[in-house]
Subunit: 662 residues, 2 copies
C-alpha cells in the first residue's frame, strides 16, 4: 500500500517539529513549509541512490536555506541513507549527532555542502552546475548527465551574492541548475515587505533565467513546475508559493515559526491539524515503506551508469579525477629544476603563472579563473580557452567582478569533484570573498585562491587596494593554508602544496612587484612544506634571527648583510606558511627558531602587514617590523622607505636593540 | 567669453591623461569617457560651493568608480576648490599629494567618501540619500533639500553589494539618489560580454528604480536625461552610453585605456584628436574661467540657506548634529548607576538594548537597524519607529538580509553627517560586511556595528554561525575599535566609548547567553576606557594573572576562585578593548600586566576564539585558552565543556604549569 504524498510530506513536518521541540532549538517553519515541494522532488524527480551516496552522476541537492536543516535530515532518513538514524534525528542539535544546527557536508553523506550562511548554498550550486557541464563536455553524456537542485529562501535571494550567482549562471546558461524558491513572504523580522519591494521573477528574467511558478502545497502544480524547469534550456527559478510552518494551525504563515520551537501546545495542535496521531519520531509503516521505495528509484540508473563507466575508455581518468587524486607528476619538479638552473627575477604573480603553465599541462582537472583581473593575477595560461555557454570544455572562467560569487562557485566545483578550481583577485579583496573562504575551510574544499598585489608593494593604487591586515587575518581561519612565497621557487613549491592539500583550501599571497630569486640551489625537497626554514645561516657569531615572508625575505637578506658587515651574525628564515611550520616536529622548529632568550638570540620579523600575531614567533621581546596602519598611494619603493621597511632602516634598529640588551 | 562644454570636458580629458602619464600609473579611460557627463553635472546641475565644501545642504557627489580618480580631481581643481592645486595634480599618485590613486575622503574636501573597492561608493550613496531624507523629515525643506549623485561603472553594478543597495534604495523610494552609469561595455578583462549577459535596466526596474538613457557624449541628451532623473520620484539610474578613453584615437573603446597610461604617442595623438594644443597641466584662460564661473553657481544658494539656518528655531541642534557633537548627557551615567544599584544577569545583547534605551532617548541623532535580526540583535528600542518610504522621520531601519549593504549605508550616513548610525547582525557575519567595516575605519566614519552571538556561546546553530577567528581578525583592522564587554556595566561603558569615538568605527561583540554582572561597585570612571583593568586583585600571593574578555570573564573569576582556594593568588583582568589598552600610559599598562617572567607571574588568557595574537598579552610562555578550530552544534554549556573552556578544566592546567616552572 502506497502512502499519499500528503502523508509523506507530513512525515517531514512531524519529524521537523518534533526534533526542534526536543532540542528546544531550531527552525521548524521552513521544513514544514517546503515539505510538499521536497516530497515531490525526492520521490519523483531527484536522481540519487542512498545506497551509493557518492555516485558521481547523482543529482546534487543543496539546501541553501540551511537553517531548515530538519528538512534534509528528514529526507535522508526517510529515503534510506545509512545516516541519520532515528537516534541521530533524536539528537538533533546535540553534541555528537550528525544532525547539526545547519547541514554540514563533513557529517552526513547526502549533504553536498555546508549551508547556513545565507546565499552561499545557491552560489555553490552554480559552481556544481558549472562542474557538471564541464565534465559533461570532457567525458560525455554517458558518464556525466545530472542536475543541481536548490531550495532557497528569501534570505538567499536578498543577499548580495545572489546577484553574482544569478548573473554568472545566466551568462553561462546553466540549464541544469534548478532553484526552488520558498516564497513564503516571511523573514525573521516579519513580512518581506518590511525590507524589500523587488519583483524577483523580473530580476531573474533580466539575467537570462527561466521562471516558473506553483502553489507549493499543490502536488500537481509542483510536478508541472518542476517539469517546466527541467525542460527549459535556461537556469530556472521555480517560485513555490508556500505557507511557512504549514500544519501548525495557530502559528503558520508568521515569523513565529521561523526560528523557534512551536511549543508543546502548538505541536499538539499541529498533530490534530495534520491528522498525525503517532508519537514523536515514530513513522507508520505505510509511510516509511513508501519513502523507502522512493529511495530505491535511482538504483537501476546507478547500476546502468556503473556499467557504462566500466566500459568507458576514460574510466581510469574519470575515477582518478572524481577521487581527487593527482597524477604522479604534476609538473612542478622539472619547473623548479629549470628555475634553479636559470634563476628569474620576477613578481611571484608571474612566478605563479609559470608554475601554472607546468601544472595546467600536467593536470587536466584544473579550472582557472579571475574576478576580472586576469592580466593582473596572471591566472590564465597560454593553452587555456574560456569556459563559456558555447564551450563548457574550456578551462578558464571569466568570473566578472564577482569575488564572492567566484569563491562560492569554486567551493561548489571542488565539492562536486572532478575539477580543481583556482581563482584570482587582489589580496585586499579577500575581504569580499572571505565568507566563501571560511566555508572552503569548514567544508574541507580544495579551492585555491590566487591573491596578488599582496602588500603596499602594489604601490600607487593606495590604501583601499593595499592589504595590511589580510595575511594575518587569513592565518586566523582554521583549516586554511596561507602561503606567502618569497620567490619563483617557493611559489612553485607552494602551488604543489596547495594542489596536494586534498582536505582544504589554500591562499597564495603573491606580489605585484619583481623579487629576486633567493632560492638558487637545489634543495632535494620542497622546503616550503616545512612552513619555515633557514634560508641563510649566520656567518659571524649568531645573535639575530630574521624571519620574513614573501617580498620581505629579500629585505631580510639585505638586513643580514648589513649586520654581518658589522660582525653580527644573523640567520635568515623564510616562513611561507605558518600552518605548516606549526605542524613540524619540535626538533625542526627548535632548530629553525631555538628557544633562547632575546639577549642571546634576538628574533626579528619583517612582514609588510600588521605586527599583531608575530609575537608568536619573535617572542614579545623580539622586534617586529611591519605596518600597523593603512598604507598610502605612491610608487612601491617610496612606500617601503616611507614606512621604514628597508634594510637601511631596519639594521640600525636591530643593532641598537642588541646594544640595549648588553 | 564662455568656453563650449566640449572644451570644458576636454580639459578633464587632458588633465587625466597627462596626470596618469606623468605618474606612469593610473586609469585614464573612465575620466575621458565620462568627461562630458561630468561636465554637465558639475557646470549645470550639481548644487555645491567650492568656497564652503562642508555646506550641509550641498548635493553629495560620489565617484563610485573610484579608479577614475582623475575625474574628480580635475573637477575639484577646475571648479575652484582650494585643493587640489595644479602642483598637487602634478603629484598624482605620489607620496604627499592628496591626489591618491583612489579618492580618499580624508585627503580632499569634496571627496565625500573613499572609493575604489567596487560597489561600495554606490551603496554609501544610498546611505547618504537615507540620511538626507531623514534629516529633511526632521528639519524640513528649508535646511535639508539636496540630492546624492553617483558615477558608477560596470564593476560597481556587477558586485553583489549592488543588489543590496539597489534593493534598499528602491524599497525606501530614495528619489534623491541619481546614479550615472558609465555604460562603456568594457571591463579589465575585455568586453562586458565576457562575463555578463544581464539586462541592467530591467533589473533596476524590477527593484523600483526609474531608468533613463542617453548618449554620454551628446550634451543635450545628457541634460535631458539628468532632468528626467531629477523629475522622477523613484531613485534613478541614468544609462550613459560612453566610449571608454574617448579622445585617444587608437585606444578608445578598449580595455587598454582602463588601467594603464596611454603612452606618450597616444597622448600626443589624443591632443591632435581633441585639438588640444597646450602643454600638460596647462589650461587656457577661457576654459579655466568658464569652469570657475560654474564653480560659483552655488554661492548664492548657499548664502540664502545660511540665512534660513540662522533664523531657524532648530539651528543649534542642527549645528550640533552636523558637527557630530554629542549632547552633554548621553544617558549612560544614570543607567550605569542603576545597574550598580540593581545588578542584572542578562546577555550583553540585552544589556546593549538597555543601554540603547537610555542613549536613544538622549540622542535624537541615532538611527538604528539590523540585517533582519532585530529580535536577536536587540537593536530596536521601544520608542523607535521604522524609517520607511512613508515616514523618513523613523529612526529604525529594517535593512533586510543585506549585511554588506547595511555596513555601506551606515558609512554613507555617518559621512553625510547629522546622524549616528548603528546596525546589527551576528558577529560571524562580520565577514559579510568586512569590506564595509574596513572602509569605515579608513574613512574615519562613526559607524557602530552591533554584533551579537559572539562565540560558541550561541550554541546549537553550530560552526557556520559560531565566530572563532572574528574578534581577533577585527582587532587587526587599523582604526577600528573592537569592544567585547563582560557584563551589563561594561556594555554601557563600551557604548559610551563608541559614541564618543568621532573619528572611527566601533564593533560591539555581544553574547547571546546570559552573563552575571561582574561590575557591582561604582568605579567613578569608565573603566572600559582603559582598555583593560584589574577587575579583582589576588588575595593570596599573586602568581597568576587571568586575562579575559566578554563572556569568558566570569570563567576567569571562577578559575581564580579555584586557584585561590589552593593558595594561589590570581588577578583577574578584564580587557574589553585591546586598542584602548595599547593607548594607555606605560604606568597603567605595567600595573595591570607587570613585566615579570612567567615563573614569577604567569599570564593566562581565556577567550573563546583563536589564541593566535594573545601572545602579545600572555607572553609566548604564558598560557592561552581558546578555540583554534571550528565550533560545533550543541547547547552552549556543553560546548564550553567540550572545548575545555571551564574553570574546572582550566584551573588544574594552570596549577600544573606553575608546578612545572618551580
Amino acid at each position: 500500500m502506497t502512502a499519499h504524498p500528503k502523508m509523506l510530506a507530513d512525515a517531514i513536518r512531524a519529524l521537523s517539529m518534533d526534533a526542534v521541540q526536543a532540542a528546544n532549538s531550531g527552525h521548524p517553519g521552513m521544513p514544514m513549509g517546503m515539505a510538499d515541494v521536497a516530497t515531490v522532488l525526492f520521490t519523483e524527480v531527484l536522481k540519487y541512490d542512498p545506497q551509493d551516496p557518492d555516485w558521481a552522476d547523482r543529482d546534487r541537492f543543496v539546501l541553501s536555506a540551511g537553517h531548515g536543516s530538519m528538512l534534509i535530515y528528514s529526507l535522508l532518513h526517510l529515503t534510506g541513507y545509512a545516516h541519520p538514524t532515528i537516534e541521530e534525528l533524536c539528537g538533533f542539535r546535540q553534541l555528537g549527532s550528525p544532525c547539526a544546527g545547519h547541514p554540514e557536508n563533513f557529517m552526513l553523506k547526502g549533504v553536498e555542502c555546508t549551508t547556513g550562511p545565507l546565499g552561499q548554498g545557491f552560489a555553490m550550486a552554480a559552481g556544481m552546475a558549472i562542474a557538471e557541464r564541464h565534465l559533461n563536455a570532457v567525458f560525455g553524456d554517458d558518464l556525466v548527465d545530472h542536475r543541481t537542485w536548490v531550495i532557497a529562501g528569501d534570505g538567499c535571494l536578498m543577499e548580495g551574492i545572489n546577484h553574482e550567482a544569478v548573473g554568472l549562471a545566466g551568462h553561462l546558461k546553466l540549464g541544469r541548475l534548478n532553484v526552488l524558491w520558498d516564497d513564503n513572504r516571511i523573514t525573521i523580522d516579519g513580512g518581506t515587505d518590511l525590507s524589500t519591494s523587488e519583483d524577483i521573477p523580473a530580476r531573474y528574467a533580466a539575467s537570462g533565467w527561466h521562471v516558473a511558478e506553483c502553489d507549493g502545497h499543490d502536488f500537481d502544480a509542483i510536478r508541472k513546475a518542476l517539469a517546466e524547469a527541467q525542460a527549459d534550456p535556461r537556469p530556472s527559478l521555480v517560485r513555490c508559493r508556500t505557507i511557512i510552518g504549514k500544519g501548525a494551525p495557530n502559528k503558520q504563515g508568521t515569523s513565529a515559526t521561523h526560528g523557534s520551537p512551536l511549543g508543546a501546545d502548538e505541536v499538539a495542535a499541529a498533530r490534530r491539524e495534520l491528522d498525525w496521531s503517532y508519537p514523536p519520531f515514530e513513522i507508520r509503516d505505510e509511510v516509511r515503506d513508501t519513502w523507502a521505495e522512493a529511495g530505491r528509484r535511482g538504483t537501476e540508473a546507478r547500476r546502468a551508469w556503473a556499467g557504462r563507466l566500466d566500459a568507458h575508455s576514460d574510466a581510469a581518468d574519470f575515477h582518478r579525477r572524481m577521487a581527487g587524486e593527482l597524477p604522479a607528476d604534476i609538473g612542478i619538479k622539472a619547473h623548479v629544476d629549470a628555475l634553479i638552473a636559470a634563476p628569474q627575477k620576477i613578481a611571484t604573480r608571474k612566478a605563479s603563472e609559470l608554475a601554472l603553465e607546468a601544472i595546467n599541462a600536467a593536470l587536466p582537472e584544473t579550472v582557472g579563473g579571475s574576478a576580472d583581473l586576469t592580466g593582473s593575477n596572471n591566472t590564465k595560461t597560454k593553452a587555456m580557452t574560456p569556459l563559456t555557454a558555447d564551450d563548457y570544455a574550456g578551462r578558464y572562467i571569466y568570473y566578472g567582478i564577482r569575488e564572492f560569487g567566484m569563491g562560492a562557485a569554486m567551493n561548489g566545483m571542488a565539492l562536486h569533484g572532478g575539477v580543481i578550481p583556482y581563482g584570482g583577485t587582489f589580496l585586499v579583496f579577500s575581504d569580499y570573498c572571505r565568507p566563501a573562504i571560511r566555508l572552503s575551510a569548514l567544508q574541507n574544499a580544495r579551492a585555491i585562491y590566487v591573491m596578488t598585489h599582496d602588500s603596499i608593494g602594489l604601490g600607487e593604487d593606495g590604501p583601499t587596494h593595499q592589504p595590511v591586515e589580510h595575511v594575518m587575518s587569513l592565518r586566523l581561519i582554521p583549516n586554511l593554508a596561507v602561503f606567502r612565497p618569497a620567490d619563483a621557487v617557493e611559489t612553485a613549491e607552494c602551488w604543489e602544496l596547495a594542489l596536494k592539500r586534498r582536505d582544504g583550501p589554500s591562499v597564495l599571497a603573491l606580489t605585484r612587484q619583481n623579487l629576486r630569486q633567493v632560492r638558487t640551489e637545489a634543495a632535494g625537497e620542497n622546503l616550503s612544506a616545512r612552513g619555515a626554514y633557514r634560508l641563510r645561516a649566520a656567518k659571524a657569531e649568531r645573535r639575530v634571527i630574521l624571519i620574513a615572508t614573501g617580498s620581505e625575505v629579500e629585505i631580510a637578506l639585505d638586513t643580514a648583510d648589513r649586520l654581518e658587515a658589522k660582525g653580527i651574525g644573523a640567520d635568515v628564515v623564510s616562513m611561507p606558511s605558518w600552518e605548516l611550520f606549526a605542524q613540524q616536529a619540535a626538533a625542526w622548529r627548535n632548530d629553525v627558531l631555538p628557544d633562547l632568550p632575546p639577549e642571546k638570540l634576538l628574533r626579528v620579523s619583517i612582514e609588510a602587514g600588521t605586527t599583531l600575531g608575530w609575537e608568536r614567533h619573535t617572542m614579545v621581546k623580539g622586534l617586529r617590523f611591519g605596518l600597523d596602519r593603512f598604507g598610502a598611494s605612491a610608487p612601491a619603493e617610496d612606500l617601503f622607505k616611507h614606512f621604514g621597511l628597508t634594510a637601511d632602516a631596519i639594521a640600525p634598529q636591530i643593532e641598537a636593540a642588541l646594544k640595549g640588551d648588553q
